[in-house]
Amino acid sequence: MLHRERLDVRVIRIGRFMNQNTQVTVFDEDFAKYGDAIFRFCIVKVSNVELAEDLTQEVFMRYWGYLKDGKEIQNPRALLYTIANNLAKDWYKKKKSDSLDDQIALGYDPVEKSAGPQMLAEQAEVIDALTQLEENDREVMVMRYVDGLDPRDIAVILNESANVISVRLNRATKRLQTILHL
């Protein structure tokens, strides 16, 4: 199930000298710049490293669809997040229908088990704590405090008003405090 990426993607022009090479170069650059951020976003969304990796790949493949048409993308980062958000939503829809046993059988291990050597135990712990938040809260926390996105950008990506995002951030922080017994 695909969602339309609603975002201000301004099509300025179809590049005159755009070709496969130029676009792949841009593609590589964007993956280098934003790959990890999208990966983090996905981990927080789906609480599983392998799945997050697959999702990340999927996000960039869909992103390629925009690049190959030569659309000049004003805010690549925002577009990538939006795609990631949509894909995660689709995943969630599917997941809700699976029972917990199914999930484990399908390999949806909790993060601590699936974390590779690149993730510290500490970090795994943080992620597991975050999973106790609601999805909406979780994603704004990560986008704001891990990736440093401006609340206004977050608003655009999530298609909400800036106000809603601020409120959500506040609320999420408080909830997390409770979880952490602070």
Binding site: G15, M18, K68
Partner: protein, 369 residues
């Protein structure tokens, strides 16, 4: 400490999470493959000749744009044979190397395709008019001659324009022409006269039902690939002593695979066969491209297949040090009535062609665009 700050700092611990090197490399690889497979396409409006889908070789379609080839060959600064132009695999027609003015390039690209479509449409109109006249009983002996003459002329124009156009449009318009003629047969009293007047190739299309049914009839495709692989095998056998062993081995492998695939395609159903033949075509394209860098290739102008290579002549645009050349070249090609008389001076320095040319193209240039 402020609990709120502690919380946000806590969350910020995630900042260092990154893809592992292995995962990153793996994903990057997959992304590259994906991008190569779903490669960039340009639509007509923005088409510059500088874009060609991956894996396309010059020879994978029946050597379209011959008159264009001549014009550009001349402007580069060497009026040697057509084949020399053909020996720029993948780079051929690219404006960066040819120095063709960008506007001209764009004009050519846009107009050849629209021209092809236009002429095909006009042919349909002529045929329709003839049918209407028949229905109104206005086809007398006199008017018949005129109508037949008009249709014939238009069919010739449409074929020529289709020949000139880019690969996709060419297939499309040729099919359109064939279909129109095919449907016309038997609907008027003009058939005999028309058949007599029509140039043979066009007339053949009226009779051939297979072309009308698909863009590129699967049987024709199979036969075509068979012919191409056979022709190439022959060329390579005849010239094997001239080709470096390692290169020869590589080319042979590709050609064998292509031949095998072509044979398979005969046994497969149409959809699968097309895919298999496409694979074979790509390999054949690679072989042809490579061969054309080794020497000057001779190409059969009807079939677009390589028939011979001359290794004593280096193909153009390969680094061969200093070269000063002047050439008088006359070129003419049928189909689009190109006649070019020019005197061209060019000098080649090292790798880059810096062709300062005084190309005066006589007014006899008529590309039929």
């Amino acid at each position: 400490m402020n609990p709120e700050i502690k919380t946000t700092e806590y969350v910020a611990k995630l900042k260092d999470i990154k893809l592992s090197d292995a995962s990153r490399a793996r994903i990057q690889n997959n992304l590259h493959e994906y991008a190569a497979f779903h490669s960039v396409r340009t639509d007509e409006a923005s088409r510059s000749i500088g874009v060609v889908p991956n894996g396309t070789s010059l020879f994978s379609f029946k050597f379209a744009s011959m008159p264009l080839v001549i014009l550009l060959a001349v402007m580069i600064g060497g009026g040697t044979s057509l084949a020399a132009q053909g020996s720029m695999p993948g780079d051929f027609l690219y404006p960066v190397k040819t120095g063709v003015n960008e506007n001209v390039r764009e004009a050519l690209a846009v107009s050849v395709d629209s021209e092809a479509k236009l002429q095909a449409n006009l042919l349909e109109e002529r045929l329709e008019e003839a049918q209407k006249l028949q229905a109104k009983g206005r086809l007398t002996a006199d008017t018949e001659s005129t109508v037949v003459a008009n249709i014939t002329a238009q069919a010739k124009r449409a074929e020529a324009a289709a020949e000139n156009s880019s690969a996709d449009v060419k297939l499309e318009t040729k099919a359109k022409i064939a279909l129109a003629l095919q449907n016309f047969v038997g609907t008027t009293s003009l058939d005999t006269k028309l058949a007599a007047e029509m140039p043979t190739e066009v007339a053949a299309k009226m009779m051939a039902s297979d072309l009308a049914t698909g863009l590129y009839d699967i049987n024709a495709y199979r036969a075509d690939m068979t012919a191409r692989t056979e022709a190439l095998a022959k060329v390579m056998v005849e010239n094997k002593t001239e080709i470096e062993a390692k290169v020869l081995a590589d080319l042979n492998t590709k050609l064998e695979t292509a031949t095998k695939l072509t044979v398979e395609a005969y046994a497969q159903a149409e959809a699968d066969a097309r895919a298999t033949l496409d694979q074979a075509a790509e390999l054949v394209g690679e072989v042809e491209s490579k061969l054309s860098t080794l020497g000057q290739v001779e190409i059969d102008s009807n079939t677009g297949m390589i028939t011979d290579i001359d290794f004593s002549i280096d193909p153009m645009i390969i680094d061969r040090g200093d070269g000063n050349g002047t050439s008088d070249s006359n070129g003419s090609a049928s189909g689009a009535s190109v006649n070019i008389d020019t005197n061209v001076n060019g000098s080649v320095d090292g790798e880059a062609i810096d062709a300062s040319t005084d190309a005066s193209v006589s007014s006899g240039v008529n590309l039929g665009l």
